[in-house]
């Protein structure tokens, strides 16, 4: 279930991307954090207690919004701009 609720920018062009293998759509000018949290309510599990996290500062300071691309690259969701065709994965499995 979504965490963020869109109030504006609804008419901007849709941007197609994939999240955990599912086709999704965001808006032009979305950050990856916005595109994801308007669909789901968790970005990753914390490193030690494996509790859900969904970002906190939205300005690149807290480092709580790291997710993965399908290629295994780590990206910080809140200051990465959503691009068409992005293939993204939340970090739902605890890091070993």
């Amino acid at each position: 279930m979504a965490l963020l609720k869109r109030l504006a920018r609804q008419k901007l062009p849709p941007i197609a991307f994939t999240l955990n293998g599912q086709a999704c759509s965001g808006r032009a000018g979305d950050t990856v954090l916005t595109a994801l949290l308007t669909q789901v309510d968790c970005l990753r599990l914390s490193d030690f207690s494996h509790e859900p996290r969904a970002g906190f500062c939205q300005m690149g300071a807290c480092q709580d919004c790291w997710i993965l691309t399908a290629e295994g690259k780590r990206i910080r969701a809140c200051n990465t701009v959503l691009e068409p065709g992005m293939n993204l994965r939340t970090i739902a499995e605890p890091r070993s």
């Binding site: 963020l4 109030l7 504006a8 032009a28 309510d41 968790c42 859900p52 300005m59 709580d64 690259k73």
Partner: protein, 458 residues
């Protein structure tokens, strides 16, 4: 003379842009680096793509200032070397290490202006890591930059002028605001009456926000002590204590913060001497009235030099530009410097009023429970810190970090540093300044693992 001057400005917020404009005015070509994709800084942050909202919708009473600043930046754009989406991650011997995407390189500078601004100061309480809890600044970024509310029934909590401003911006944008929970007692707001003479427009605007919130039926509570967030997978409610009683409210998001804290890591790496700022309850690079740090050629302006707000940041940015020019042997308009200094002094006097009206929630550090997570990266509890004091006699922050890992995680103490200092000082019964400050370490933010260096690098 101008061809040997190669100033580097870190931060394209109000301070950095005005500093750049001033240098450009003297025929100098500064390098301006900012992590963000466009200029404006925190308050005047720009959207990634334009949308249907006007500057008035986005910046409210500050729309004219926002537009003026963005226009200035556009006008000087081809007379500066601007590196957006670029992080300055280290400073050493007249050079900075900067990373853009997956590349890092070294930039030599003749002078350095640190205009790095601030981030929210947060304090932990039960459940503050739950999805749906964001900082106040983060809540505002969601709205301004992304056109999103952090939830459908949002509670705003904390202290500081941003508390009422963000709540009001949410209501204006059509978001559901369940309540405003102010940790300060109502009586603290009488201090604002003193501010009416000094900065009438600012004070009246604040009163208007509060009045409009109440008129729209948003409950405002004073003297609140946060107890816990309810909900495991996401926020379901908030519990707080007020006049000795516990109260609960259902909500699906919480935005909170306790004013701001300066971003000071680069000044530390550059070897600047630090002083303790009692008003900000934090250490920051020491600087004179003009923004000169203890290291020749390194200057500081804006909220990174102590919290003073966006208007002060613009004035300080211009002043530091003029001072740098004067130090480099240019003749500058001394009358203008005096004007800037007078205006800055007035704002600083007003800051004391704001601090009294929106005080830090003392004695917060003593009352917080042992099992509250203090460090959200390394997941260290408040009890760990107290145990380190009790069992290992710790009384200094870096020692605490080495022993408990508080502040050692990815955020480098940006989220837990203020709270760790407060808890440590209270636990070992010392003053806040005497427990010291967390040392900055390069890279000051995590770099991509696959980073590659251009030429000589770290």
């Amino acid at each position: 003379m101008s061809d040997i001057l190669r100033p580097l400005i870190v931060g394209a917020g109000p301070a950095g842009i005005r500093a750049a404009q001033t240098l450009v005015g003297a025929g100098i070509r500064p390098i301006v680096v900012d992590e963000a994709p466009s200029g404006g800084g925190q308050i005047y942050r720009q959207r990634i793509v334009p949308d249907e909202r006007s500057p008035q919708d986005l910046y409210g009473s500050e729309a004219a200032k926002a537009t003026a600043l963005h226009e200035t930046f556009a006008q000087i754009r081809d007379r500066i070397d601007y590196l957006p989406e670029t992080l300055v991650w280290n400073v050493r011997d007249k050079a900075a290490d900067v990373a853009t995407g997956n590349r890092t390189r070294r930039i030599d500078f003749s002078h350095l202006i640190l205009a790095t601004g601030a981030t929210d100061r947060v304090l932990p309480f039960h459940g503050w890591t739950t999805p749906g809890v964001f900082t106040l600044g983060g809540s505002q970024i969601a709205l301004k930059s992304q056109g999103c509310a952090i939830g459908e029934q949002v509670v705003f909590l904390g202290s500081g002028p941003l508390l009422y401003l963000v709540a009001w911006q949410y209501v204006k944008a059509g978001a559901g605001v369940a309540a405003v929970l102010d940790t300060a007692p109502f009586s603290a707001k009488f201090h604002l009456l003193r501010g009416l003479l000094a900065q009438p427009a600012v004070v009246l605007r604040g009163f208007r926000y509060a009045a409009e919130l109440m008129a729209r039926g948003v409950p405002v509570h004073f003297g609140v002590q946060p107890v816990r967030i309810e909900g495991k997978a996401r926020v379901e409610g908030i519990v707080w204590r007020e006049r000795g009683k516990e109260r609960r409210l259902a909500c699906d998001a919480v935005g909170y913060g306790f004013a701001l804290r300066s971003e000071t890591q680069l000044g530390d790496l550059a070897g600047c001497r630090f002083i303790f700022d009692a008003r900000d309850r934090a250490w920051r690079p020491e600087c004179d009235m003009a923004g000169r740090t203890s290291v020749p050629g390194i200057y500081i302006a804006g909220d990174g030099a102590g919290i003073a707000g966006a208007d002060a940041a613009e004035l300080a940015g211009e002043r530091v530009g003029l001072i740098l020019l004067e130090d480099a042997g240019f003749s500058v308009d001394r009358t203008r410097i005096s004007v800037l200094e007078r205006r800055l002094a007035a704002i600083h006097r007003f800051r004391d009023v704001l601090e009294a009206a929106f005080p830090f929630p003392d004695p917060w550090a003593g009352s917080i429970a042992d099992d509250v997570t203090l460090c959200r990266c390394e997941e260290i509890s408040v009890g760990h810190v107290r145990a380190a004091v009790r069992d290992q006699g710790v009384f200094e922050l870096n020692r605490l970090k080495a022993l408990t890992r508080v502040g050692m995680g990815r955020c480098q103490g940006r989220m837990c540093g203020s709270a760790a200092a407060e808890v440590l000082a209270t636990a070992c019964n010392q003053s806040l300044d005497s427990v010291g400050r967390l040392r900055a370490q390069p890279p000051i933010k995590p770099l991509p693992l696959e980073i590659a260096a251009d030429g000589e690098a770290a």
